[in-house]
Amino acid sequence: MSLSSFLSVVVEQIDIIEAPVAAVAHAVNPWVAFAYLVAGVCFIFALRGLSHPTTSRKGNRYGMIGMTIAVVTTLVTHDIASLPEIIVAIAIGGGIGFIIARKIAMTDMPQLVAAFHSLVGLAAVLVGWAAYLNPGAFGILGEGGAISPVSRVEMGLGIAIGAITFSGSIIAFLKLAGKMSGAPIMLPGRHVINLGTLVAILGLTVYFTQDQSFWIIAVITVLAFIIGFLLIIPIGGADMPVVVSMLNSYSGWAAAAMGFTLHNTAMIITGALVGASGAILSYIMCKAMNRGFLSVIAGGFGADSSGGGGGAAQTDRPWKRGSAEDAAFMMSQAEQVIIIPGYGMAVAQAQHVLREMTDLLKEKGVTVKFAIHPVAGRMPGHMNVLLAEANVPYDEVFELEDINGEFAQTDVAFIIGANDVVNPAAKTDKSSPIYGMPVFEVDKAKQVFFIKRSMGGVGYAGVDNDVFYMDQTMMLLADAKKMVEEINKALAD
């Protein structure tokens, strides 16, 4: 007996007793709905805890409790024909996840988060397909044993968003992990292709309400995989904070769409929270670069920097080269030093030696502060995590707007692995691609040390930086970690 004929028999029987069709699969038990609501509230507390480091771990526990409630509620309210398989599946996945979480280096967090997003996306696709194949289990059958039209739209959209999240996150992962060039890959006519694909997905979703054929779901999935791929390949490496945040948002919307399909409040609340979270982070990142979200997503930024054209102007401008001893001497004489870390610090793994440097300076009575730009690194908060890993207390780490007024009273600004975020052209040069981006006013500090590998390269935006050539700037040309180690040696003497 096929599934559909079985279901039509069931539906006929149900009609006799005049009960809603949905009741076949699982009676709507108010306690179940309540449990999912509690899980959703726990997730709200989980995010709320992150408003301060002291409450954050408690928040994380709330998250775990919420997840446990959701999983246990689901298991005890369904006839579990396959509990052993389910437990094995959880054990396999949980084991892998736990080991990864233990072993991952903090500098690799951006690609880990991207990889995790892809899993949420793929899981959403699989759940969408499962709901299509076994709609009765999810209580989404309408009249006559077919999936109700509203559920079909939700299903189509959920699968599409999940698939975009999956393939987009895979590309973001490959770029962040350095397994694929971070340079933008520009296809001709990509905007037309993207829009056309998007319209096709929406059109198919609408058509899906009329025709419940399998090929429609399959084509939607494939098209969504393609568009996720196409969306991310033209976006350059340093725009990844926006991309990772955006994919974070998408993974939330995918969960919410599945929540709509399955009428599950825990999924809807969580999806909305995560969707909002990712959207806000994307907004903060875009604002910190003074760029529109659409211009970031359209991609191509930083494509010129690989040409090396920006490097040419540097030869005819005078600049001063400093040594580790110079830096050690000037900083030990200073009252206040502000350190501005960037992605280069993460690449060089210099956070630990940098903390040793601050310890040595503090012993000499120097006040040391860290200044973090919102887009420093490859994901929101990337620098803060690395500094926390190196045991830098969080109350010595400051946000852009909180510390920018202090540079005029600062003896030394110490720039390590950052570039565009200190470029004064953002304030003065209207033709600059980074014009309008909020930057650290390091030019107001009495002395600037700028660690950089060589004078040849320019920042991600491909623009020259006037800070290199200021009277009070000394360039420390070396690998960031080696240079700080030498400074530490000089400070210890």
Binding site: S51, M67, S82, E85, G93, G94, A130, T270, A276, V385
Partner: protein, 101 residues
């Protein structure tokens, strides 16, 4: 539940999310992404239903794979968030620090 009831929950949850996330300190934005990752895997609920209910072997297998993927995320996401949050420390008081040195 009818569509409007679900939609109401969704819209209100978006507003809650908006205000809660703005209150998150920027220093914790990376743990925020890790924990949102973990909680968005509540999608495991859908995978569990698919795997638990009889009716379609294909749906069951899709569900089981979904459970594996979501479990990686749940355990990995919460564990890595916990690991990160444990690193955020306030300035130590001078006394115990001298002993440590």
């Amino acid at each position: 539940m009818d569509f409007i009831a679900i939609l109401s929950i969704f819209v209100l949850a978006c507003f809650v999310g908006y205000y809660v996330v703005w209150s998150v300190t920027p220093a914790l934005h990376t743990p925020l992404m890790a924990v949102t990752n973990a909680i968005s895997s509540v999608i495991i609920v859908g995978a569990l239903i698919a795997a638990a209910e009889a009716g379609s072997p294909a749906a069951k297998w899709l569900g089981l794979i979904g459970i594996v993927l979501a479990s990686v995320n749940i355990f990995g996401g919460f564990a890595v968030t916990e690991r990160m949050l444990a690193m955020y420390k306030k300035k130590e008081r001078p006394a115990p620090k001298k002993e440590a040195n």
